[in-house]
């Protein structure tokens, strides 16, 4: 009898402690996951402005792709997701006080380096079944079923898409010229290039 009371007290205390802790964590996660929160750092603000004017926000189907949808690991990698989010949050605060100037281009390249196709393919999954839109079917196949040594990232061809500064808001449905990827980034091709011997 006594043991049951102890167990009940412990469970009750656990709930009393854990529930507020859990809700606060959840609340914090939700509050810190919005583009508005990201834009509260002045370093990130231009990126958010550019994103707001991009086709990832303005399109005929009304889909809005938030910062975290691309910039954090896919949620099914739950541990990575929470770890990355916490790590980046803490790092950004420290960096904010440590560095003089935010190098947007450097950070752009770092973001490209950290992206995997999983983030893009949360939404862009049906790449080969667009009968009205056959462009790049070969290229998409070569990404989905890559030969060893020829693995590619989505962003190798689709870059400067969201965070390029625009003079006006882009609406996907009102594009003047059809969208096309830019082709393999030259930097990526340069990586294939042998390094010349010194002194030649």
């Amino acid at each position: 009898m006594k043991r049951h009371i102890i167990a009940a007290v412990l469970v009750g205390a656990g709930i009393l402690v854990a529930f507020p802790l859990f809700s606060m964590t959840y609340y914090t996660m939700v509050r810190t996951s919005t583009p508005e929160f990201c834009a509260s750092c002045h370093e990130i603000k231009p990126a958010v402005m550019a994103w707001r004017a991009s086709t990832h926000t303005n399109n005929a189907v009304g889909v809005v792709v938030d910062c975290m949808d691309c910039h954090l690991p896919a949620p099914h990698r739950t541990f990575d997701f929470f770890f990355s989010k916490t790590y980046h949050g803490a790092k950004d605060v420290v960096k904010h006080f440590l560095i003089d100037e935010y190098d947007r281009e450097k950070n752009r390249q770092a973001a490209y380096a950290s992206f995997t196709n999983e983030e893009c393919q949360k939404c862009h999954r049906s790449l080969l079944t667009m009968p009205h839109n056959r462009g790049a079917m070969r290229a998409h196949r070569s990404v989905l079923y890559a030969r060893a040594g020829y693995e590619k990232k989505c962003i190798d061809c689709h870059y400067d898409l969201v965070h390029d500064d625009k003079a006006q808001v882009m609406f996907r449905q009102y594009r003047k010229t059809p969208y096309q990827a830019k082709g393999l980034r030259v930097e990526r091709l340069e990586m294939q290039r042998p390094q010349p011997a010194k002194g030649v």
Binding site: Y150, T177, Q180, G183, R193, P196, V200
Partner: protein, 461 residues
């Protein structure tokens, strides 16, 4: 009542005759038809309709291509984004011309004349990646690191445009008016440096607007550049058994086999250039790096392994690559045949290096060291020309002739000439050393006016 349909018919046929006369060009007795039956953007339809009238040759080429088959239109390659530097500004005026079909502003899209490997990579990324590793793509960098004509300014800029850069490629530039600089264009050189930073031109081998795989499989695709006294690969091929069999049997060749299926002994009897250097064969995969399967640099002054070629060390291992080439040979030849062939080739390379090149190079260095030859320029002293021709002309013919089994090039155009060149070079050099007399320096070397500055686009740092 009964006459009405006749009148309508007559009227309609008169209209048709009138209409087709506009589109018809004298050297195309029947215009290639094109009915828009599949989904393409209206802007692309405008390109096609206008260009089949304005440039029927381009249209007919495209219409016969696999691109047309796959519904890939002008726009898929030529479209650029507003604000790009290479927008063809002159092209926009056509959208205001009411005499042209589809000459309306609603079809206006920004386009570029030059299509680059980067554009092709939108659909062919792996081919582009392979190509970007090749010496083809990087040939401008290589020649600027090695070549005395460029580095010492021994020829003129126009001699380079019409000669060197026609094959090696120009550095495409935009002039003050915003159009493509005419000294850099037209050009389809394999190492052309494009405005988007990509290197080369896929249309060197897959000429526009057919972009045919069959064409690139034929030796004729290579012979615009790979000929002549300094690297007569096509003449060597013609003389080889492969070449003679190709000419005898090419009518039976199935050049249009799907990529990755072109099979030695079935689709072709003897290989073409591509058959050995590029196409998949046996277990060896196709590559667009034409220099991948090499095991010797037979064009270099001293023959070295591709990974040791200093201006552009290949990221390959020569033994692996020789293994691949042997697998290609094995589609038609037995192992002992291949072994014995390579023994002869390796021996030719060794003899060229040790017996001819190294002693000649040592002698040249000695002459420079003793001040008997002047180092400020090249080609302005006879011995420099002799030395150049020893490796750049006859020495290459000897090695390449041995490699591709053309006896006349290996011997009469090759080692035979190397031998006498060497003997004369040594005789004249010794004469200078014995007498201490300085070599005659040409006082009137003609047209040595070319720019000696390395293009910063090729050497950014």
């Amino acid at each position: 009542m009964r006459k009405m349909p006749f009148a309508v018919c007559l009227g309609a046929s008169l209209l048709m005759i009138g209409g087709s006369a506009v589109a018809q060009q004298p050297n195309f007795p029947k215009v290639k038809e094109y009915r828009i039956e599949r989904n393409i953007p209206p802007e692309a339809q405008a390109c096609i309709e206008c260009h089949r009238a304005a440039t029927p040759g381009i249209f007919a080429d495209w219409a016969k291509s696999r691109h047309a088959n796959a519904n890939i239109t002008c726009l898929d390659c030529h479209l650029v984004q507003p604000g790009d530097v290479d927008i063809a500004k002159g092209h926009e005026k056509y959208y205001g011309r009411s005499d042209l079909p589809y000459g309306e502003s609603r079809y206006k899209v920004p386009i570029a004349s030059i299509v680059t490997p980067k554009d092709c990579s939108r659909c062919h990324p792996d081919e582009t990646t392979q190509y970007s590793r090749s010496k083809h793509a990087n040939t401008l960098e290589i020649i600027w690191k090695l070549d005395p004509w460029l580095n010492k300014g021994m020829n003129s800029d126009n001699e380079r445009k019409t000669g060197c850069f026609n094959c090696h490629g120009t550095v495409i530039a935009i002039d003050a008016k915003g159009s493509i600089d005419p000294t850099t264009w037209p050009n389809a050189g394999v190492g052309r440096l494009n405005l988007d930073g990509s290197k080369g031109s896929c249309t060197s081998c897959h000429t526009r607007h057919r972009f045919s795989v069959a064409e690139a499989r034929m030796p004729e695709a290579c012979d615009q550049c790979h000929l002549g006294p300094d690297h007569p690969q096509i003449e060597i091929y013609e003389e080889s058994k492969h070449g003679t069999m190709y000419h005898a049997y090419k009518d039976e060749y199935n050049f249009n086999a799907a990529g990755g299926t072109w099979t030695a002994g079935i689709d072709y009897r003897a290989p073409t250039c591509a058959g050995c250097h590029m196409s998949g064969s046996g277990k060896v995969f196709t590559t667009h790096d034409v220099t991948e399967r090499l095991s010797w640099e037979t064009q270099a002054p001293l023959t070295v392994r591709p990974q040791d070629f200093k201006p552009f060390p290949a990221q390959t291992d020569w033994q692996t690559e020789r293994g691949k080439m042997r697998d290609v040979c094995r589609q038609c030849h037995g192992d002992s045949w291949i072994d014995d062939f390579y023994a002869g080739f390796d021996k030719a390379v060794e003899e060229y290096n040790e017996v001819y090149f190294k002693p000649a190079k040592a002698m040249l260095d000695e002459l420079y060291a003793k001040g008997l030859l002047d180092k400020t320029k090249f080609f302005d002293e006879r011995l420099e020309v002799e030395f150049y021709e020893l490796w750049h002309h006859e020495g290459r013919r000897a090695r390449m002739g041995a490699m591709m089994m053309a006896p006349d090039y290996a011997w009469w155009h090759g080692f035979y000439e190397v031998k006498f060149r060497f003997a004369n070079f040594m005789e004249e050099s010794r004469h200078l050393i014995e007498t201490g007399q300085k070599a005659y320096v040409a006082k009137d070397f003609p047209n040595a006016t070319g720019n000696t500055e390395r293009p910063k686009e090729v050497f950014p740092e």
